[in-house]
């Protein structure tokens, strides 16, 4: 299918905008939207206005930013590693963030101010990245980098398991496990403002990476001859992904499959060019997370469904479908 980059991005942006509005409008309980909007504009602090501004708006904003981060970073990682199975979790920062967040939940429930959790998560993401850097060394090859990332992932996961194992009561276990499932319920504007700068820095570092990723598809040597410094590019993408994904995971927990599936989904529409995929994938990721987060509010389950569970449940079969379809295309 042929679509110009501008058309594709506009289309995705419109879908994302519609989903964003839907996300603000739809809740588990209905909200008189007009009244809420009027109260907000008049500066009237009614219950409806508070629900709109302080509960639904941050939720939709966080879904937008976190989804875009996951889609963008997934596309960047797949482009850099030239491997369709690469996902943003590979650099270790996601599990580093999750480990530190769980650590805060384990030791400080109810005793620390609420912003400590995302800040600790981001610190964990940075620490994991620094460890990967130290382990792999400055001039590391892609393989070494991945191996270091996998090792850090394993270490952080082991740490989380240890905390679960030592948890003081079944209630603590439940809270720790539920946090790791990924959820955007009841996040506040403060959470959004905390995640935004780090996410934006990550995104900004990926601006202009597209052309280099396109050259990289011709092979590392050829890319080098075209003026791309592979080591430099590698670190640039790794650090960008660490920052952005770390911020997302610290705020919403582990949300799987968006970073893996969305680039796959959109690749045919950008003529398989990794450079063009970046922006499209960011918008696509935002759409998918917004839609999934609307889904968890609409699906009537007894205990509230976590958005990370929904993305994995829908994502895995969808991924299989993509594989089957691509097999048919290659035959």
């Amino acid at each position: 299918m042929k679509l110009s980059q501008a058309k594709l991005c506009t289309l995705l942006a419109i879908v994302a905008l519609l989903l964003f509005i839907a996300s603000v409008a739809i809740g588990r309980d209905s909200l008189p939207l007009l009244t809420a909007l009027k109260d907000t504009l008049n500066g009237n602090d009614s219950v409806y206005a508070v629900i709109l501004n302080q509960i639904r708006l941050p939720r939709a904003l966080i879904a937008l930013v976190a989804g875009a981060t996951l889609g963008l970073c997934g596309a960047a990682m797949q482009g850099l590693l030239r491997n369709p199975l690469a996902s943003p979790g590979l650099v270790g920062s996601a599990s580093g963030a999750a480990f530190f967040a769980v650590l805060v939940l384990y030791f400080g429930t109810g005793m620390v101010p609420p912003y400590v959790l995302p800040v600790a998560g981001m610190f964990g993401a940075l620490l994991a990245t620094v460890l990967v850097y130290v382990l792999a060394g400055r001039d590391a090859s892609v393989t070494t980098l991945i191996l270091a990332g996998v090792a850090i992932n394993a270490l952080a996961t082991a740490g989380m398991s240890l905390l679960l194992n030592l948890a003081p009561s079944p209630f603590a276990v439940r809270e720790l496990v539920l946090w790791t499932l990924g959820d955007i319920t009841d996040r506040s504007m403060n959470d959004f403002w905390l995640m935004l700068p780090t996410s934006l820095i990550g995104w900004a570092m990926l601006i202009g990476v597209g052309g280099k990723l396109d050259s990289l598809t011709l092979g590392e040597r050829t890319a080098q001859s075209m003026g791309v410094n592979p080591v430099h590019l590698r670190w640039r993408i790794f650090i960008a992904v660490s920052l952005a994904v770390g911020a997302a995971v610290a705020t919403v927990g582990m949300i799987g499959f968006i970073g893996l599936v969305v680039p796959h989904l959109l690749r045919p529409y950008v003529a398989h060019e990794p450079g063009r995929l970046l922006a499209a994938s960011a918008l696509g990721g935002a759409c998918v997370l917004l839609a999934a987060d609307i889904g968890v509010r609409l699906i009537p389950t007894d205990s509230p469904l976590k958005v990370g569970v929904l993305t994995a449940l829908v994502g895995a079969p969808f991924f299989l479908h993509l594989i089957v379809r691509s097999r048919r295309e290659y035959l």
Partner: protein, 310 residues
């Protein structure tokens, strides 16, 4: 195997409620005596009403199962705006039937906010994002600690009573419960050895409500011998080594496969010549602490006598 009768609830509260309704009824029945007297009484009644209106009742919402039950125990019907979904579950909630009369919430900030309660009671492990959000929009939040001892159960009853504006009720319940605890028959030696047994071998030690229940009922706890203070895992080997006379289970999904029953029939235990007596307590009486905790002690005492006799 026995089942504890879920009878004793909050009879003391029905008593208080009946006192209130008595007062109102007597006023109503006297008022039509004669014109002036009637008017006077009417004015008096009005003034009583306006005094009541000056100190409005705290409207309360709870998003924690244990808080739900204490709220049901200690507040007036019209105070309760919402309880957690779990409050209506037969397996976990002692007052599950009474809870069905109230709206329930899934613990989302949005739901709680639309109810406009004066007070939200949350648990120590309630979703921290939700709690932070509710606090941020200016609701009064109180956190109910997890009860690790019968003393904390009493403290929790007193706290909830104070929060919902019925401190007197709280102290009355606690006083009665203390009296019942004091009047328990002093357990005589020898104390049979028992283990609390939850799925996958989890057990409760001396620093937990269930551990203290066992102590009060005159059992000695295997967990203490195995070095478990509050909550931990009891291995099959430890059970064989320590040879408990009884396993006390309280499975959350009754009627399904009982782990303690299966454990008591484990080939290794049978080979070791052990056949522990399995005591079953409904989980709605062990998930949270409350006045029913004392009922559990009393029936475990009876169970102990049965065990010693047989």
């Amino acid at each position: 195997m026995m089942t504890l009768a879920a009878t004793m609830g909050c009879s003391q509260y029905r008593f208080i409620h009946s006192l209130y309704s008595l007062k109102k009824n007597s006023l109503k029945s006297v008022s039509p005596l004669s014109g002036w007297l009637g008017l006077l009484l009417f004015l008096f009644f009005l003034s009583v009403r306006s005094v009541a209106a000056e100190t409005p009742q705290v409207k309360v919402a709870s998003i924690n199962l244990c808080a739900d039950q204490l709220v049901l125990l200690l507040s007036d019907e019209e105070q309760i705006r919402s309880l957690s979904m779990l409050s209506q579950e037969e397996a976990g909630s002692y007052f599950f039937e009474r809870a069905r009369a109230y709206p329930v919430n899934e613990g989302h900030a949005e739901q709680i906010l639309t109810l406009q309660p004066d007070l939200v009671i949350v648990g120590q492990y309630s979703n921290s994002h939700t709690v932070a959000m509710l606090r941020e929009v200016g609701l009064r939040i109180e956190t109910l600690p997890i009860a690790n001892s019968i003393e904390t159960v009493f403290e929790n009853i007193a706290s909830v009573a104070r929060w919902v504006g019925h401190e007197d009720r709280g102290s009355e319940v606690v006083e009665k419960l203390r009296l019942r605890l004091k009047n328990l028959e002093k357990p005589r030696e020898p104390k049979p050895l028992a283990a609390g047994y939850d799925p996958n071998g989890y057990t409760s030690g001396a620093l937990s409500v269930r551990g203290q229940i066992m102590e009060y009922a005159g059992f000695s706890n295997v967990a203490s011998l195995a070095g478990i203070d509050s909550y931990g895992k009891l291995s099959l080997e430890a059970i064989i080594n320590l040879q408990p006379d009884a396993l006390i289970e309280s499975p959350y999904s009754p009627g399904t496969y009982s782990r303690a029953q299966a454990m008591s029939q484990h080939p290794a235990l049978l080979a070791a010549g052990l056949d522990p007596h399995v005591i079953h307590i409904p989980s709605r009486m062990t998930v949270c602490g409350g006045p029913w905790t004392i009922d559990v002690i009393e029936s475990l005492q009876a169970e102990r006598l049965k065990l010693m006799g047989g």
